[in-house]
């Protein structure tokens, strides 16, 4: 049984005009299905606004889906009341992208970290302090930091505090919503190593959300690529990098920066991501796709298994790879 299974998840937001009338519907997440095993990391990649963060919030029940099911250790979460949901909240946590807005500016680090322990009564009141110090040391901070306020810390240190808060309840699933994209490159590596260390230690599962393929390759077992609220390709990390079968994945791979400035760069993906309020006909990707033809303009390709464990939603998946830039050293 997978730890987490998401089935046909859909979430839309109502758009209103200045008078409060419904002006349209923004489909943020459309018919999303995937599963995640204990101890596994699933990368979720896509451009800004494609519904990655919404997916994370839906799983944590911070948003209510329109339809679809979320199974966590076999229990369907979308029908639970907030009281029934509570024991599951302890087992799934989130790490946020922006370390500046994810910590309450009016609380000391000590009270931020003791809150989860108090809410779930995980630690006898007399031992909360020791447990907080233990958490701080686990993420590479020291006991004296607990008296301080978040604004006294750097971005990397704040992200460590955010990670300590998520780990305080000893969760099984952690949704990491672009946990390093707001940090310096050198700090990114430290945070990623920290996250990987905890995964080994506690057999954690991560849903690792990112907006490009640069970081995610090193942390993910499998990767799902999202475009306008849909998964367009889902396969193991190694397979995705070696043999991308969706033109969008190919474009993302080509966009990963290379350390060699003399290397020829292919044309970047042309055009903007279309508005999810008014998506294109047929395949959502066709206006930006170099392989697109009449079929793509008319028919939305279903997500099909082309090889074992490799799911793709493209009419021309067998052609994809033509424009893929082979990087020096990888091929």
């Amino acid at each position: 049984m997978p730890l987490l299974e998401v089935k046909n998840l859909r979430k839309s937001f109502r758009m209103t005009d200045s008078l409060g009338r419904t002006a349209g519907q923004l489909v943020a997440v459309d018919n999303l299905s995937f599963s995640l095993q204990q101890g596994e990391t699933l990368g979720l990649v896509g451009e800004s606004g494609c519904g990655k963060s919404t997916t994370g919030k839906l799983i944590l029940q911070l948003l209510q889906p329109d339809s679809g099911q979320i199974y966590f250790v076999g229990e369907e979460l979308t029908h639970l009341s907030s009281r029934q949901m509570r024991p599951y909240r302890r087992r799934m946590q989130m790490i946020f992208q922006d370390p500046y807005s994810s910590l309450n500016p009016r609380m000391t680090v000590g009270s931020i970290l003791s809150e989860p322990l108090l809410i779930h009564r995980l630690t006898p009141p007399g031992q909360v302090r020791e447990r907080v110090i233990e958490l701080l040391e686990k993420v590479g901070l020291t006991a004296e930091h607990q008296q301080r306020y978040p604004h006294e810390f750097s971005g990397g240190q704040r992200q460590r505090i955010g990670i300590a808060r998520a780990l305080a309840v000893e969760p099984q699933l952690v949704i990491a919503d672009e946990p390093v994209s707001a940090l310096d490159l050198s700090v990114q590596a430290q945070i990623l190593n920290l996250l990987r260390g905890f995964q080994k230690e506690h057999n954690l599962s991560y849903l690792f959300i990112a907006h490009d393929l640069a970081v995610i390759e090193h942390v993910s077992d499998r990767i799902a690529v999202m475009y306008l609220g849909k998964i367009v390709e889902l396969t193991s990390a190694a397979e995705l990098y070696k043999n991308p079968c969706h033109p969008y994945t190919e474009a993302l791979l080509n966009a990963v920066p290379t350390p060699d400035p003399g290397h020829p760069r292919p044309a970047a993906l042309s055009g903007e991501i279309p508005s999810p309020v008014n998506p294109p006909s047929g395949c959502y990707f066709h206006p930006r796709c170099p392989y697109a033809d009449e079929l793509c303009r008319q028919q939305d390709p279903p997500l099909l298994e082309t090889e074992t464990g490799h799911l793709v939603a493209c009419h021309h998946s067998e052609q994809v790879g033509r424009y893929l830039l082979r990087k020096a050293g990888t091929e």
Partner: protein, 284 residues
Amino acid sequence: MSRSRGTFLFDVVWRQLRQNRMALVGAGIVALMFLMAAVASLTHSDPAAIDISQSLLPPSIAHPFGTDDLGREVFVRMLYGARISLLVGFVAVGISTLLGIILGSLAGYYGGWIDALVMRFVDIMLCFPTFFLILAVIAFLDPSIWNIMIVIGLTSWMGVARLIRAEFLSLRQRDFVLAAQALGASDLRLIFRHILPNAISPVLVSATLGVAGAILTESALSFLGIGVQPPTPSWGNMLIIGKQTLGSAWWLSVFPGLAILITVLGYNLLGEGIRDALDPRLKE
């Protein structure tokens, strides 16, 4: 929590406020007013002691601010008047802030029909010209100081409610609130521990400015004779005694008038200073 908020206020607000000379002047005036109210009983003289033989004496060493038509010491009456102003200012603002916070939090946190209901009520309350509403209410009730404070409080909470609602709407979606929600925090914990402490800064400003407004309203009501009733001294009803003898005894009008002016100025300067101190928020 109270300790940590104290530290926050000290760290951020006070450090900024110290740089602002006008705000310090305002704080000084407010402190002086508290001092006046505190030393009132130390003078050992009765503000209502009538001594016709001493009536309408101009300011001198013996009578610093002169005496009024009944021979009462204007200085002592002003000290006692400071108590009334302080009391009215703080109790009225306390009532309006409390009401505003409760209704604004409900509207901003729960949204939907609760929000619609509360905000339409705010719109309705804002339609009444406040001062005339107070006049009408006082006409039915006894014009006692407690009724005045309650009525001023009940008619001035709308601004606070709107401020709090707006802060709640934006804070509700912030990551640290979502994080607390993901940890399983209850509604009460989210409101009182995570959202409200971060929404309180603009309310602090509006409350400080509100004290000035309440003092002005009380003075105006007392001046019209439907506020604090004689013989209890208030700056407003001292003014009306002065009005009758304005030609001959200027000190009866000038000192209470100046007191109102300076006090309101002090609260406004302090309020604006706090606003400036809080403005850059915590983005360093």
